[in-house]
């Protein structure tokens, strides 16, 4: 009665096959990440030293350190976050909590998703037109960061909106029925439970902002500028552009140097991600429903 039939044997066989295909795809996915990290550490680690991190480039950027680029990237990321996170979160709150569910709202949502697909070089040209020339910021950290902010806004908006919508509707209704306004409901119940998702969007944005090259090369990042920026109206070096420059534009660069720069850039992003993931896990641990 309980013996395997031809059919159940076939099902079991298929089950094993599907599992192998899925596992194989996962391994295929992990492989490039592992290889990139391994190569970077293998070739870049010998470069790591106090001087490399905290001194400026010398000898036509073939020697010395990367400090101005490191600080420049931190500036660019922070100013871009300051500009995009408040606007992005506010827009997402409007779209998710206030906007009526009609054709216009759906069109706006579609436009935001499409904005995420605009090539970064197009954003760069927009940045030149809008911030460098029209707004008169010149080539500066401000213009470059705003360009990055516009480029990454969709990431913030989409991830914020999704985490707001993950908060069960029943919570909102319970609050509304008590006589709470929409904003009271958002502040007391919806936002506190969406913070971890919003942070995920910010993490993604940080990674993208730190790594982008095209949007900043016309708007505020300098080829070689061995000074630290003093305000948002200064130009600055940046890690991503520096890596591009020493890899393609400068003769006689020692082979290990670009790997060193790349390793620091990746380490920076990974560190920020790790911090945010830590914060997120901590927040999530306090949330249960």
């Amino acid at each position: 009665m309980f013996e395997a039939t031809e059919r159940t044997l076939k099902d079991a066989q298929r089950e094993r096959l599907v599992k192998r295909i899925l596992l194989g795809s996962t391994i295929l996915l992990i492989l490039p990440v592992v290889i990139i990290l391994a190569v970077l550490i293998w070739k870049g680690a010998p470069m790591m030293s106090f001087e490399f991190l905290f001194e400026e480039p010398t000898n036509g950027m073939t020697a010395g350190g990367i400090f101005p680029a490191l600080i420049g990237t931190v500036w660019l990321v922070l100013v871009a976050l300051l500009a995009s996170v408040p606007v992005g979160v506010a827009a997402a709150i409007y779209l998710s909590e206030y906007a009526p569910d009609n054709k216009l709202t759906r069109l706006v949502n579609l436009a935001i998703i499409n904005l995420a697909g605009v090539p970064s070089i197009v954003h760069a040209l927009f940045g030149v037109g809008a911030f460098v020339l029209f707004a008169g910021f010149g080539t500066s950290i401000l213009a470059a960061s705003l360009t990055l902010a516009v480029m990454t806004l969709p990431i913030v908006i989409v991830s914020t909106r999704e985490s707001l919508q993950a908060v069960p509707q029943a919570f909102r209704e319970a609050c509304w029925n008590m006589g709470a306004t929409r904003w009271q409901t958002i502040r007391k119940v919806v936002l506190p439970n969406a913070v971890s998702g919003i942070l995920t969007g910010v993490i993604l944005e940080v990674s993208r902002t730190a790594g982008e090259t095209a949007p900043i090369m016309f708007t505020g990042a300098a080829f070689f500028l061995p000074f630290l920026p003093e305000s948002v109206f200064d130009q600055t070096m940046a890690m991503s552009l520096h890596l591009f420059v020493i890899s393609t534009q400068v003769p006689d660069v020692p082979e290990a140097l670009p790997y060193g720069v790349a390793l620091v850039l990746v380490a920076m992003v990974l560190t920020m991600n790790a911090i945010s993931v830590g914060v997120r896990t901590w927040l999530r641990g306090r949330r249960k429903w």
């Binding site: 009526p100 569910d101 009609n102 029943a170 919570f171 909102r172 209704e173 319970a174 609050c175 509304w176 029925n177 008590m178 006589g179 709470a180 306004t181 009271q184 007391k188 119940v189 506190p192 439970n193 949330r287 249960k288 429903w289």
Partner: protein, 254 residues
């Protein structure tokens, strides 16, 4: 019998969702300090009726309410401040919604929204409401745990405590016992009986016997129509005017 004042009154009320009718042509009164039962099979428009009282159509662009609903003789559609209207009406949902806040904050939320800031006053409200909801003894040592971590029955009593913290005049209960064990159901029923002195209760239920145990008067709704309203005991002892009510009470359909 002394005629009590009407707390809620409905005349020719209808609710539509887009092109669909939830119910229509509904007229009846709920008297002050009575428990008013609404029974009927699923889909007969009971929940929509409760939503219309609290003007939840403000949050649902599909939902349209027509007719006249009055609270204390005033049209709820014309209420100047809809938030103060909702504050006067407590709602308990079928599935307990413990907000993802601590037990304390679940009950303190409504007073806080009303602008009460003093810790001592909040403490007093929280304890009083939890006691009235027969939950205080179980949670008094863990007011700081999340409300959503309580058991289902405890969460349902928490939502009752939360509704009471609004200091409402009307309590709407929508099939509160659907996700609650029988013992908790009986405890909540006892609470409701004791609350009758202070407020008016509208009890939507699909348990016919629950309506019989609690309700002074009962309305029977079927397929978006109010079939009849009557004194509960009379309905259950053969005093129905409509055959469909008798059949439903006898469990022959629904």
């Amino acid at each position: 019998m002394v005629a009590a004042a009407n707390k809620l009154s409905f005349s020719d009320v209808a609710v539509h969702y887009g092109d669909d009718v939830a119910f229509s042509g509904l007229s009846f009164d709920v008297r002050e300090n009575e428990i008013f039962g609404i029974i009927g099979p699923a889909g007969s428009g009971k929940t929509s009726l409760l939503r219309a009282i609290n003007r939840m159509d403000d949050f649902n662009s599909e939902m349209r309410v027509s007719g006249r609903i009055e609270l204390d003789g005033h049209n709820v559609r014309a209420w100047r401040n809809v938030y103060s209207l909702r504050q006067r009406i407590g709602v308990v949902f079928p599935l307990p919604v413990g907000l993802p806040l601590t037990v304390y904050e679940n009950v303190a939320l409504s007073p806080r929204l009303r602008g009460i800031r003093k810790k001592a006053q909040l403490n007093e409200i929280v304890e009083r409401c939890l006691r009235r909801a027969a939950l205080w003894d179980e949670v008094k040592d863990r007011l700081d745990t999340l409300g959503s971590l309580l058991s289902g029955g405890q969460q349902q009593r928490l939502t009752i405590a939360r509704a009471l913290s609004q200091e409402p005049e009307v309590l709407l209960l929508d099939e509160f016992s659907i996700a609650v064990d029988p013992v908790t159901t009986m405890r909540i029923e006892d609470i409701l009986k004791s609350l009758r002195e202070e407020l008016t209760i509208v009890l939507v239920t699909n348990l016919v016997q629950q309506a019989r145990r609690l309700a002074d008067r009962t309305a029977f709704m079927l397929g978006g129509e109010l079939v009849e309203v009557g004194v509960t005991e009379e309905l259950f002892t053969g005093g129905t005017r409509d055959d469909r009510t008798r059949q439903y009470l006898e469990g022959r359909f629904g």
